[in-house]
């Protein structure tokens, strides 16, 4: 287990006495100014961790809503560098904001250089990274963790319903901040129903980590979010927010409804 600075780490979002809402928006969508409004809407709506998506042309883990927002942002020239700039501007303007995790595919990090990307992100006030196409046991993942550790950044790895015990162990051992548990097979996106075996999935993951577990992929409605919050420390909501990202008012209302449902669930100390 990697210990990180609690003051700036992602873990801070899970230490508020209730279950946490990890709220995703896409950087640069529909444009730079609207992205700032969207981030403000997440804060005023009550998000506990902000997950800021980096536009990428080949988002293999994302469903149609996030993929399409990413393409839109890409077309206006948004990428990793611009997402980090956005985070820096936002952190400066809103020092009380919840911790920010950048969600990016691995190639933009490779292209910029692991060390440079980590250094710039830390400088921008980012607290950690989620990289969905970088499994924890790969040689590149070790290099990436070293770069992040050197700059006090958390590295969140993903666990899936198909993960074997050995793989869950690697996810637990390599993650810091929190563990991202993918609730169902497939890509990101809203789903009518959640996996029935979610409680046992979370329980299995807990055998391999003491970090907070946040569950994502498919959660879109307040009732679903509350259900997830009763079994895990955090709930990740993405597509349902990105769908409303062009309208900050609508986005804020959605975040608030989900946050209220999630925050109503107390967290029991483990």
């Amino acid at each position: 287990m990697v210990s990180t600075d609690v003051e700036r780490g992602l873990g801070r979002g899970f230490a508020r006495g209730h279950a946490a809402l990890v709220a995703y928006v896409m950087a640069g969508y529909p444009d730079r100014a609207s992205s700032h409004e969207a981030l403000s809407a997440l804060v005023s709506g009550g998000a506990d961790v902000i997950e800021l998506g980096v536009p990428y042309a080949d988002p293999v883990a994302d469903g149609p809503v996030i993929a399409s927002a990413g393409r839109h942002a890409l077309a206006s020239g948004f990428g990793l560098a611009e997402a980090i700039e956005l985070a820096a501007e936002f952190s400066a303007a809103c020092p009380e904001a919840p911790p920010i995790a950048l969600m990016t595919y691995v190639n933009p990090l490779l292209r910029r250089g692991f060390e440079r990307a980590a250094s710039e992100a830390a400088e921008a006030g980012v607290s950690g990274f989620i990289v969905p196409d970088l499994p924890p046991d790969q040689p590149f993942a070790q290099k990436w963790r070293s770069a992040c550790e050197a700059h006090g950044l958390d590295t969140v790895f993903l666990a899936a319903p198909t993960s074997t015990p050995a793989r869950l162990e690697a996810v637990g051992a390599c993650s810091s901040g929190f563990v991202y548990l993918v609730s169902s097979l497939g890509v990101t996106g809203e789903r009518a129903t959640l996996a029935e075996d979610l409680p046992s999935l979370v329980a299995t993951m807990r055998e391999y980590t003491t970090l907070p577990v946040a569950v994502g992929f498919g959660v879109s409605k307040p009732e679903q979010a509350a259900k997830v919050a009763r079994v895990a420390e955090g709930v990740v909501v993405g597509s349902a927010l990105v769908r409303r990202q062009h309208d900050a008012g609508s986005l804020e209302r959605q975040v608030r409804q989900i946050a209220e449902a999630v925050h109503a669930v107390p967290i029991s100390p483990r």
């Binding site: 990793l80 196409d133 899936a160 993918v182 497939g186």
Partner: protein, 412 residues
């Protein structure tokens, strides 16, 4: 019986390292959901390698169903026109379904059955891999869905029709440029969702480990046969062996046995022909090895055409099979090690070579394979009029009639 090359697991050179790297290239860069399935695939492949009945079953199919070994044909009128001593054509165009792709789909679908999967998916560019997968699925009674870009569906309507006739579902992919790269992404996304009951039959030496190795091994029957045929025909010297490279499976299948089994001193020049499209300086090409830089695409680290932010760039080629911004990781390794030389061939050069083979030998090649044929005049200049060259004719050109006609080639 066709000679199947399934190197044993302890043959150090045959395998990438434990994490799937060929030197710096390869690996597994995929969502966690599919990681355990890749490990299962690797284990199933190791088991198959150790099981003589697997090689026997595959070998029988390659012989009686595909028609292997494919001939190594001495093309004298072509050699004369190109100014070379001799040109031999490895006739993968005569394989059942009209291209080398079936060597791989038979192997992978047998693996799918061993793993208890009753449903297969595939991506396709030119449609050759889609047709080969649909054919194999029909043969083995597997359910089959093929992902294909909408632009490729337009360019290759005949193959789309064939796949549907064979009972496969063709899933149109409209995202991006509607070409091969988009089809791969769509297939990967679908696989993440259906990973428990679905086997992903990848069509080239690309994708996350262990796919590049599995596909290369199944295609190595091409090079292995070629080496045996050189001996049978008592060809005293071969100066060069050429193959086209999109993802790179026919080239890997041809080159790998020469690298693995032939001592460096006796080894002919190995040359891969990438797509230069409208020209390397136009930005409209598919030459990942010539113009790309190392990066991750579709789950593996290799040379890739990408922008400054790390997004894959759109590839372009007149040939749907070479229209891909990446290339198999082992080719990147071969390039860096100097084991294979890679050159780029424009649309125009490929069309000229297409016409030349058609008119001198009565063989209509795939427009992909025509890129390899286009190296012949260059090799005549480089190696002289006595040189002996083998060209892998990876597929036949029936599917390309509309494109060739649109390009204004042939009868006036």
């Amino acid at each position: 019986m066709a000679d199947v090359l399934l190197p044993s697991a302890d043959d150090a050179y045959s395998s990438p390292d434990a994490q799937g790297f060929y030197g710096a290239y390869g690996g597994t860069f995929v969502p966690e959901t599919v990681m355990p399935v890749l490990a299962e695939l690797e284990a199933a492949y190791r088991e198959a390698q150790a099981d003589p009945s697997f090689a026997e079953e595959l070998s029988l199919l390659l012989t009686d169903y595909v028609g292997r070994p494919s001939p190594l044909y001495r093309a004298d009128r072509l050699a004369q026109a190109a100014g070379l001593g001799a040109v031999y054509l490895k006739r993968e165009d005569l394989d059942h379904t009209g291209a080398h792709k079936i060597n791989n789909t038979l192997g992978q679908c047998l693996l799918a059955k061993r793993m208890g999967k009753h449903r297969v998916i595939a991506e396709t560019g030119a449609g050759q891999h889609g047709v080969a997968t649909a054919t194999t699925a029909a043969l083995m009674g597997l359910e089959c869905a093929v992902f294909m870009g909408t632009e490729d569906i337009r360019r290759q309507s005949l193959n789309v029709y064939k796949m549907r006739l064979l009972g496969a579902e063709v899933v149109p992919v409209a995202e991006g440029t509607g070409t091969l790269a988009d089809a791969v992404t769509a297939a990967l996304r679908h696989w993440v969702e259906r990973v428990r009951d679905t086997f992903y039959v990848i069509g080239s030496v690309v994708g996350p480990h262990p796919y590049p190795q599995i596909v290369r091994d199944f295609q190595s029957v091409i090079g292995k046969e070629t080496i045996a045929q050189i001996a049978e025909k008592a060809i005293p010297q071969v100066d060069a062996v050429v193959a086209c490279v999109g993802g790179g499976s026919n080239a890997a299948g041809m080159f790998y046995p020469f690298i693995h089994d032939v001592p460096a001193a006796d080894r002919p020049l190995l040359i891969g022909a990438e797509a230069a499209g409208l020209g390397l300086d136009t930005g409209k090409h598919g030459a990942a090895l010539t113009k790309g830089t190392p990066g991750v695409l579709h789950g593996f680290y290799s040379y890739v055409l990408q922008d400054d932010a790390g997004n894959p760039r759109e590839a372009y080629s007149i040939s749907a099979g070479l229209d891909y911004p990446g290339v198999g990781p082992e080719h990147s390794f071969f390039k860096d090690q100097g084991l294979v030389r890679y050159e780029a061939v424009t649309d125009t050069e490929a069309l000229e070579a297409f016409a030349l083979l058609t008119r001198t030998e009565g063989i209509i090649p795939a427009i992909e394979s025509s890129h390899a044929l286009a190296l012949l005049p260059r090799l005549a200049k480089e190696l002289g009029p006595e040189a002996v060259v083998i060209v892998n004719v990876s597929g036949r050109g029936d599917k390309d009639m509309d494109i060739v006609r649109e390009a204004g080639l042939g009868i006036d």
